[in-house]
């Protein structure tokens, strides 16, 4: 008998992937711009701390309407995306639909909003579209997967000659319904966060006031706004009931003012002039035949902004992703029934809600005060925010595990009972989150790190929409490539064994 060969076991593949990710992150660390300055943050941190202890709920004007706006944008945007996403999900077998959906979800909500701002001003339509469009792309992909992976047997058993619609309604939807519903609810939480963040660019949601009070150092007001926001997110499972949704939607429609601004001239101006590359504006389309007219412009943009932007974005996102993974493994026991008694879990949940609800920009600012500017605050902020999200999901997932009555306890339980069982899920979540982290590196210009998002933001600020659009397209392409890579990795590892969980 020969000694057993070293089989290509699933566990072996997980180990190799984990090691590969860790090594890539280490390599990225050597390229990364990381620094720690000897700062004296205590004066400002003291003011922030005092603000957190003395929240001021009455200093912010039109607070109630900001809360209502935040919820209304989220509810309507997610509802619209739910429907359009579902339709695209039915057409998802076409490659073109897949690519289109990947493209629209690769662009950050804030950038969609900045684009629509040019067409519709700071109105309801801008906010709705900024949420509905990227969410459509996300819903389409996820719903398509859920439908594909649901139990197919009922559909195979319907009598010959049954109509497509009846088959669909009675045999395809029911086995998938619970997952569709769960996912839609989870997206609503994301929608509320997105809606709040849209306030940063001027929509009248919670983020509008949060950004104002935080940047002006009015920390008591900022604290009040943050606490309100935490409460909204933490209580979401209490107030979202399927039968209440139509009522909420009706209220949202009634509440939001649809007197938005719109004109053909603006549209023509935007499409026919603003987003046309500057060197081609006066010369017209025939100038395309003469590269000397536009090549210097393009070359400049590629070499000065796109290329360094892509490198920095990739370096930053891969380190942040691995840091996020490490954090997740440390945090999830806090909310897991396998490790924590009830009271401990409540504290754990509170911590995770706080970490995942503080906008990254604010987290990054606080860390920046302590560490000084470099990629470090960005990495920590992104890791904390996304780590808290995955830890929350893994915690919930681990609750469903059944251990033997005589299973070990403490650290042994963690290492030998739970970790092996959650690891495929964990890797799947993490790889999916990579794409999200990439998008989010966009909003950290305060750190002086030149990611793609930094340049896009500058282009909008300088009202150079031609550059902004081109850079956005490049971001979308990088995102799509990354998404493909992550999916290829997942497929190789067969991480999709339980796919309904894997995509949160």
């Amino acid at each position: 008998m020969t000694a057993p060969a070293r089989f290509d076991t699933t566990a072996g593949r997980y180990r190799r992937l984990s090691l590969g990710l860790a090594l890539t992150a280490l390599l990225a660390l050597t390229l990364a711009d990381i620094d720690w300055v000897n700062s004296s943050p205590w004066f400002e941190l003291g003011r922030i701390g005092w603000g957190m202890l003395t929240p001021d709920f009455f200093g912010v004007e039109s607070l109630a309407s900001a809360v209502a706006n935040t919820l209304a944008f989220a509810l309507l945007g997610v509802a619209v995306a739910n429907v359009t996403g579902f339709i695209f999900a039915l057409l998802f077998r076409w490659r073109l639909v897949q690519l289109f959906c990947a493209l629209i979800r690769a662009v950050h909500e804030l950038f969609w909003a900045l684009l629509f701002l040019q067409l519709f001003g700071l109105g309801t339509l801008t906010g709705l579209l900024a949420i509905a469009i990227p969410y459509t792309g996300i819903f389409a992909r996820v719903y398509a997967e859920i439908l594909e992976e649901a139990d197919q047997r009922p559909a195979e058993l319907v009598p010959v000659g049954s109509g497509w619609l009846s088959t669909f309604a009675y045999a395809r939807i029911p086995p998938a319904f619970a997952h569709l519903k769960n996912y839609a609810l989870y997206r609503l939480e994301c929608g509320i966060r997105s809606s709040a963040v849209l306030g940063f660019i001027g929509l009248p949601t919670l983020g509008f006031h949060l950004e104002t009070s935080f940047s002006q150092g009015l920390y008591s007001q900022a604290a009040a706004l943050l606490y309100l926001f935490f409460a909204l997110i933490a209580s979401i499972r209490l107030w979202v009931r399927p039968w209440l949704i139509p009522l909420y939607l009706a209220m949202a429609l009634y509440w939001l003012p649809f007197d938005g601004y719109w004109s053909v001239a603006t549209l023509q101006q935007f499409l026919g002039y603003d987003i046309v590359p500057a060197p081609l504006r006066d010369a017209g389309v025939q100038a395309l035949a003469e590269p000397r007219l536009w090549w210097p412009w393009l070359q400049n943009l590629l070499l000065q902004q796109a290329l360094p932007g892509i490198v920095n974005t990739l370096v930053l996102s891969i380190i942040a992703m691995v840091a996020c993974g490490i954090l997740t493994l440390l945090l999830f026991p806090l909310v897991s029934t396998l490790f924590m008694p009830r009271q401990g879990r409540s504290t754990g949940h509170l911590l995770l809600v706080v970490l995942r609800s503080i906008p990254e920009l604010i987290l990054a600012f606080i860390i920046l005060l302590v560490t000084g500017p470099s990629m470090l605050p960005a990495i920590i902020a992104l890791a904390l925010h996304n780590g808290a999200i995955i830890a929350h999901l893994i915690g919930r997932y681990s609750d469903a595990l059944l251990l033997r009555d005589d299973a070990s306890r403490g650290i042994n339980r963690y290492l030998f009972e739970v970790l092996p069982r959650i690891y495929p899920q964990f890797l799947a979540f993490l790889l999916y989150r990579w794409e999200v982290i990439m998008r989010e590196t966009a909003i950290l210009g305060i750190l002086g790190i030149h990611t793609l998002g930094f340049f896009i933001d500058s282009a909008f600020e300088e009202l150079r929409f031609d550059r902004a659009l081109l850079l956005i397209l490049m971001t979308a392409l990088v995102n799509m490539a990354l998404d493909q890579l992550a999916r290829a990795l997942r497929r190789r590892l067969q991480l999709d064994a339980n796919p309904q969980q894997a995509r949160y």
Binding site: S40, E61, G202, Q221, Y261
Partner: protein, 283 residues
């Protein structure tokens, strides 16, 4: 059918009523709190003086204000020096009609953390080389444009090469907080915000101080679209200008905050446009 016609008429009427509301916005640069309350009072004042409906739209960024002005969502705007130039470039016949008294000689402060050892001087010290530096918002005149101009003038190189790192804090108060904590070593800030925060006790003078102040330049101004007379009648622009110049209620003026408004013209901002062009912020 009749119903439909009424409906269409109703829409038209509401559209024209909407168009006849004179709308303005104001760049939030120095104090972003209670915008609606403060500028709602300005809207009331203008409404009384002009005898028409006046509304205020809050905005969050320079770019949003410029877009609103260009798309005729607002017809009047309180812009910074640079944003005013950018906005008027995009709207034919638009005009700067009034500026704050203080805006005729606005200035920026360069501030430094004490650990840098930089001391106040008549020029920017060459020891600035290799420090970390933060501007305010990317589109700010006092927090970005003019400081960058003087840096380039003195050192003959771009800030990105002069400094080890260049950030954009996004806000003057945040610039102060970041330099005060030593996170950034040096920063540039609107002088009025510095003075206000200093008076409010929000600055720890043992760790941060002013090391240089720029020469003065024109900054904030009211700009109005060229086509307002066509909508609200001949002489409307002149009446708006008069209403702004004769604003003397201290409570209203405190919203800006300015002691009074004085005449302005597009030519006053030619130096700002020139600087913006030399830096490559406008084409």
């Amino acid at each position: 059918m009749k119903k439909l016609a009424f409906l269409a008429l109703g829409c038209l009427l509401s559209l024209s009523a909407h168009a006849a509301t004179f709308t303005f916005t104001a760049i939030p640069d120095q104090d972003e709190t209670l915008l609606r309350e403060r500028f709602g009072k300005i809207a009331n004042y203008l409404s009384q003086e002009l005898g028409i409906d006046v509304a205020y739209v809050p905005v969050k960024s320079y770019a949003a204000a410029i877009t609103a002005f260009r798309n005729n969502q607002v017809q009047l705007a309180w812009f910074g020096g640079l944003s005013g130039v950018q906005a008027r470039m995009r709207v034919p016949n638009s005009e700067a009609i009034a500026q704050g008294y203080e805006d005729q000689f606005f200035k920026s402060y360069f501030i430094a953390h004490h650990s840098t050892g930089l001391v106040p001087g008549d020029t920017l010290s060459s020891e600035l080389q290799g420090k970390t530096f933060t501007f305010g918002s990317k589109g700010s005149t006092s927090g970005r444009l003019m400081p960058e101009f003087y840096l380039r003038q003195q050192f003959d190189q771009a800030p990105e090469t002069l400094f080890e790192r260049v950030g954009f804090s996004g806000d003057h108060s945040r610039t102060i907080a970041l330099v005060q904590s030593g996170a950034y070593q040096v920063g540039a800030v609107n002088y009025a915000v510095w003075e206000r925060e200093l008076a409010a006790g929000n600055i720890d003078t043992s760790s941060v101080s002013v090391i240089w102040e720029t020469p003065t330049y024109p900054d904030y101004q009211w700009s109005i679209r060229g086509d307002v007379d066509a909508t609200w009648g001949e002489g409307f622009k002149a009446r708006v200008k008069q209403a702004l110049l004769s604003m003397d209620d201290p409570e209203l003026l405190a919203s800006f905050p300015r002691q009074s408004f004085v005449e302005a013209s597009n030519d006053d901002f030619a130096p700002v446009a020139k600087v913006a062009r030399s830096i490559g912020l406008i084409d």
